[in-house]
Symmetry: none
Subunit: 126 residues, 4 copies
Amino acid sequence: MIAFNLDPKSGAPFYRQIIDQIRYGIVTGSLAVGEQLPTVRALAVELKVNLNTVSKAYKELEIQKVLETHQGTGTFIGPVSVRIAPAEREAKLKSICAEFYTIAASYGFKKEEMIAELKRIEGGAR
Amino acid sequence: MIAFNLDPKSGAPFYRQIIDQIRYGIVTGSLAVGEQLPTVRALAVELKVNLNTVSKAYKELEIQKVLETHQGTGTFIGPVSVRIAPAEREAKLKSICAEFYTIAASYGFKKEEMIAELKRIEGGAR
Amino acid sequence: MIAFNLDPKSGAPFYRQIIDQIRYGIVTGSLAVGEQLPTVRALAVELKVNLNTVSKAYKELEIQKVLETHQGTGTFIGPVSVRIAPAEREAKLKSICAEFYTIAASYGFKKEEMIAELKRIEGGAR
Amino acid sequence: MIAFNLDPKSGAPFYRQIIDQIRYGIVTGSLAVGEQLPTVRALAVELKVNLNTVSKAYKELEIQKVLETHQGTGTFIGPVSVRIAPAEREAKLKSICAEFYTIAASYGFKKEEMIAELKRIEGGAR
DNA sequence: GTGGTCTAGACCACT
DNA sequence: GTGGTCTAGACCACA
């Protein structure tokens, strides 16, 4: 299972926050391979968002082969194999970091500040 | 001066890319206090976008007191004083880092990997 | 709720009149924190102006953190906290008063006359 | 004579600041009836503004019959008679005050604050 | 020539 | 249906 938590102020659209939290749940093991996710309707009620919003998140993860939908049965975490191709992995890290760096730097933050703040996140328990 | 560069694929709207590049130019010193920016028309031509798009970017920065516009005269970098309210600064850093962390973590990257990659960026000359 | 009212003769641009009326509505309590504003489209129809004009007004207030917009949901009055930074507040009062004084004095009005007239406005119920 | 002083940050356009200062000079007696004003060119140089800007200010005051231009001789303060018709005087005060009040109130300033700030201006020496 | 405002209309993103 | 972005083009205000 997994506890979802949407922040309207984050700027990120809800559907993206849902996607990120599901991916995050998977890599941290909160969501096991093959585990069933809440139904679209149930999650929409829980998060107090529109059905379409949850639907969109599930659909995008399905496209990325992270989830599998079985008609009439529900939505499940897909096999671990296809998460990220190892070849892509480094490129992805680079692109995410570069974008982050550009944005933070445009506000005048120094690299040391960014790193210090990152280290502070979640205490390092992970 | 400063070389602008729009990327239609980035997903970020044009006017926001312009804003970010001006902010970035200021914090890196490419744009000096009091310096005149390209005219709305000139920049629109250079970037091949509509007048209003450039105008919108300048306007937002003016509201944020980053720029000063004098009608009939031009647009200038404002005084350095109120770039970001100190109180907001830390909150901004936190929110940027948190979002970055969530995204990167959702791809399974560990904090150490992120920090290592960040350290690699731009050598630290800044 | 709030009754908007544009005056084409006032000299002030439409979008600024909208901004002023929203700010005024907030400080007088006609607009409560968290309340939803008319949709961009609805207000545009009501005021017989273009969508973009209303949008521009909302956008400026959003940048100033007076409003919050949630895409797909609507536009809302933001939390009361950061209406005007306390530091700016006094400066704003000074500049508004100084301009008023200069104009009134240029017509030969004495300070006592201005103050007497001000006291007469709205009975003081506010 | 009169010492002009333009403030680029005031928001008021230069030509209006010039107009206000001339009117102000007249009502305070710094500028006597029939006195000659600086030439457009001289004032433009002194204030470091465009010729057209000064020209526009003089022209508007001429329309209001505050100034008189004699071709080839210069610009002079007109006869005092036509400054403001007494009938208009009260209406003018009301309209100026009302506008000021609306703007200040939209920023949440109370009447007492406005009056206090007004009293503070120029010490009351006038 | 500089920026500012407004319109009309199209298309996109999110709920 | 909500707001967001962009374009094209007109007209205005200021220096």
